[in-house]
């Protein structure tokens, strides 16, 4: 097949820029869509990072006035919304898009056109949200970008307290991209359940594929609840309904229930695929099979189920009955058990291995170290009375950034370094990658560790400024100093990606000596992925090929 490719391109003149762009615009190839998801997500990552930078500059010292109060509120609203809906989900769905068909030995996703539809919905949803900077003023001349926070608590979102159209842009932008996520999730489920290659039973699927299956189920269950709640809010705002309007006997707390019924599974939607990346990368670089595959699968499915029953731990201080708080504390404690199992199984995989510390593995080790901290502060936050003090403080901001930056983003960087050779055919620069890792690790801790302390001292989140003399100054100063360090780290990764595209060493099919099916095809894979549909003999098909004397299938 490769030779056929070479022949045709040798005769035809190279396609022009317009032709190539057209090719990307009309593509239904899961690999191209995956790459576009990831690149669009990374662009939004830079935008969301700049918004965070503005916030940190404002909080550098007490009573600073770089931003107006509303300007600051717009920054954290757009930062949170962007990072969750326009960075986390698309980047992870993008990796899923690229990898799932390759890993299960399929030629494409089950519904390629639906796949393209989902991608473009996400792009236009994101553009709609960002158009609010221009269009949000509406007829009222009051607005701009949304400033209601990413969880948009009512009644702050009602027409009374949020004039102009900015909140409507927030609703519609997220709703549109939510439809995109829904279609993609359905596509994942169909692909994983129906399109696996011969021999690949469910219990031979790579763990990343398992996690994407659970993520798909969570998206299918959680996103419609958000969409429905947003539709209700839109009715409130435009047609005078009053689902969430307490002045008209609506309920402000109802919004919180609906939002967090989506919002907490969403956290697992953002962390399960990274768990999947780590579950693929750690074994390959430790040169050992994953420890306790079946328990990993069980823990993943367990997390999926329990995550649908923990949402009210975001609401421990809204005045729910004490017994209900206790119940949600219990379910939250429970979900830490399968999460702990995963961590121990990764450590068990590393134990006794011969670990190669190349960049993907470095980021995985960083992930493990940092995610444990986020998990433990999560346990502290599950203790309801403790949360009476910590809720809505900077401690919470520190906690979820350890999960979503130290966890999700570190794992995404690991995945970028790991699969970049497959996607482009070239290796990323190792030296630059190691530098980027250490700089990011330092910058990340500088920015987010101090937040735990300022929170314990009484600093609430989402304040545009703070009073001097409360003990917040030093911690905020350190946080802000960490920002340029992080910027350098991220810039190094981005530069590495750009530079390696033309200058990187040629990768070959299988640069990491790995065991899953995507490494059995060329780098980059042909449009149809595999010349011949592979067959699968165990959870590590390429291990069996490389070690015919001691294949995995002997131990199943």
């Amino acid at each position: 097949m490769t030779s056929l490719h070479a022949n045709t391109s040798a005769h035809a003149s190279p396609p022009g820029v317009m032709e190539r762009l057209h090719g990307w615009a009309i593509t239904v190839d899961h690999k191209r869509l995956g790459v576009m998801y990831i690149l669009a997500g990374l662009i939004f990552f830079v935008i969301g990072g700049l918004e965070a930078t503005m916030m940190r500059i404002q909080l550098l010292k007490p009573l600073n006035d770089v931003l107006t109060p509303q300007g600051f509120n717009q920054m954290f609203t757009m930062h949170g919304t962007t990072m969750v809906f326009l960075v986390g989900m698309p980047v992870l769905l993008g990796f899923g898009n690229y990898l799932v068909p390759l890993m299960v030995g399929a030629r494409d996703m089950a519904f390629p056109r639906l796949n393209a539809f989902g991608f473009w919905l996400f792009v236009f949803g994101g553009l709609l949200l960002y158009f609010s900077w221009i269009g949000g003023d509406g007829l009222y001349g009051a607005g701009g970008a949304p400033d209601v926070g990413w969880f948009a608590y009512s009644p702050l979102t009602s027409k009374t307290f949020s004039r102009g159209n900015s909140t409507d842009y927030w609703i519609l932008g997220i709703m549109v991209s939510g439809f995109g996520s829904m279609t993609t999730a359905i596509n994942f489920a169909a692909t994983i359940l129906c399109m696996r290659c011969p021999g690949m039973t469910l219990m031979r699927m790579p763990l990343l594929v398992w996690m994407m299956l659970v993520v798909a189920a969570l998206v299918i269950m959680a996103i419609p609840v958000l969409t429905a709640a947003q539709a209700m809010l839109l009715l409130d705002r435009t047609l005078g309904a009053h689902f969430f309007d307490p002045q008209q006997q609506g309920s402000a707390i109802l919004w919180q229930h609906l939002f967090w019924f989506f919002g907490h599974p969403e956290v697992y939607i953002l962390i399960l695929p990274p768990f999947g990346f780590v579950s693929e990368i750690v074994p390959v670089f430790s040169r050992k099979v994953i420890f306790g595959y079946a328990l990993m699968v069980a823990a993943t499915v367990g997390i999926g189920f329990i995550s649908l029953g923990v949402w009210a731990h975001h609401m421990f201080v809204v005045g729910l009955p004490p017994w209900l708080n206790a119940l949600f504390a219990a379910s939250t404690f429970l979900i830490s058990v399968p999460t702990g199992i995963k961590i121990f199984n990764w450590l068990g995989t590393m134990w006794g291995g011969r670990i190669r510390f190349q960049t993907p593995m470095l980021f995985c080790a960083g992930f493990l170290g940092m995610f444990v901290i986020g998990g433990l502060t999560g346990i502290m936050l599950a203790v309801v009375p403790f949360t009476h003090q910590l809720s809505d403080s900077y401690f919470v901001v520190g906690h979820f950034h350890y999960v979503l930056f130290g966890g999700t983003v570190f794992a995404i960087f690991a995945a970028i370094f790991y699969w970049y050779p497959k996607v482009t055919g070239r290796m990323m620069n190792e030296r630059m990658g190691v530098w980027a890792f250490w700089i990011l690790l330092l910058g990340f801790n500088l920015v987010f560790l101090p937040m735990h302390f300022s929170g314990m001292l009484g600093m609430p989140r989402r304040i545009y400024t703070y009073q001097p003399g409360r003990g917040f100054e030093l911690w905020n100063l350190i946080s802000t100093i960490g920002v340029p360090v992080q910027i350098v780290g991220v810039a190094l990764v981005v530069w590495n990606m750009i530079r390696s595209y033309t200058k990187g060493a040629i990768a070959g099919n299988d640069p990491w000596d790995a065991w899953t099916l995507e490494w059995s095809t060329t780098s980059p894979p042909p449009e149809h992925n595999f010349d011949r549909i592979p067959t699968c003999t165990s959870a590590r098909p390429l291990w069996d090929v490389k070690n015919p004397n001691d294949p995995d299938c002997n131990y199943e």
Binding site: P69, P155, L295, G319, F333, L347, V372, T465, N547, D552
Partner: protein
């Protein structure tokens, strides 16, 4: 007046004490887990790093039922213990009934200030309404009824108790006992719009007699001083009186009650010390002291500013 450091580990009230001592236990357990897990991680990184001499693949270990069972059951036991601790402390901290002998005060959150109402049938009118600076007697339980006039706020003075939200059309309660005399600081903890950061909390704890005297003075009618009649008439003619109440003069409800304005230490919900100069600057342009707050600049002339400031300064 001593300012009580508002950290959650420097407490001066029973619910906050209880949370603090439980917090040390929880953090101790978490620190233990942290040391074990990070220790194994670091040990593995150092010990199992590939050495140059090593060739081929290490021994493949597919799992181990006893080990996997162990790291399922041990965490289960730990979180079970934590669950029991949580339930015990919830029972004490989240009271549904007022503590014995408690004084009930209604706290109402507004964008972006606090209103307090002392309910007492023996007072004229049955209640005393004040703004922003809550006074309480030392060592007396306070049962705070939390309500909101607009959006969700959250009442958080870390040294006294954890926070509880003020939700419109949904009454919550919170209790504390200030054990030390002094000024307790805190601020609104639930994002509530532009000036969320400017909704500062001040709780002043004084001995019972001092508190009684203070309450009696707050219950007294507003001073009516004829020498500032000009300022009072401007206050009434312009928009001031639509939002601000001065008992017996105006009954606006959108903004802080000014009947005994001068008995407070701060204006703008704790953001600025109350001095004559600050008060005048505030009347001149509130937006410069508390940007995007709801009080507009009324574009008063210098002489009008002086007159209104003089009038307000008589409201002791």
């Amino acid at each position: 007046m001593p300012v009580i450091n508002p950290a959650i580990f420097d407490t001066a009230s029973p619910p906050a004490h209880q949370i603090e001592s439980m917090a040390w236990l929880v953090m101790g357990i978490c620190a233990g887990i942290f040391v074990v897990v990070e220790g194994i991680l670091v040990y593995s990184i150092v010990k199992f790093r590939r050495r140059k001499a090593e060739q081929g693949e290490p021994v493949q270990l597919y799992g181990s039922n006893p080990i996997e069972l162990a790291w399922t059951v041990v965490p289960l036991l730990i979180v079970f213990t934590l669950g029991l601790v949580t339930i015990r402390v919830i029972r004490d901290v989240e009271r549904t009934e007022p503590p014995e002998g408690a004084m009930e005060v209604v706290a109402i959150g507004h964008q972006w200030w606090w209103e307090y109402r002392y309910l007492d049938p023996s007072l004229p009118g049955g209640q005393v309404v004040i703004a922003n600076e809550l006074h309480v007697p030392v060592n007396k339980p306070v049962w705070l009824r939390l309500e909101s006039a607009d959006v969700i706020h959250s009442w958080w003075v870390p040294a006294l108790s954890g926070k509880i939200d003020l939700v419109p059309n949904h009454t919550n309660h919170l209790w504390f006992v200030a054990e030390k005399q002094g000024l307790y600081l805190g601020q609104c903890a639930e994002y509530c719009g532009n000036q969320h950061a400017g909704m500062l909390l001040r709780v002043v704890a004084t001995p019972q007699e001092q508190f009684d005297a203070w309450l009696a003075s707050q219950a007294a009618p507003a001073v009516d001083d004829q020498s500032v009649a000009l300022g009072k008439s401007i206050f009434m003619e312009l928009a001031c009186s639509t939002c601000h109440a001065v008992q017996g003069v105006s009954d606006g409800a959108f903004a802080p009650d000014l009947t005994h304005l001068m008995s407070r230490d701060t204006i703008a919900s704790g953001m600025v010390p109350l001095t004559r100069d600050n008060l005048r600057a505030w009347l001149d342009d509130p937006q410069s002291l508390k940007p995007q707050c709801n009080m507009p600049s009324l574009k008063l002339s210098d002489s009008e500013l002086d007159a209104v400031t003089d009038y307000l300064c008589t409201l002791k």
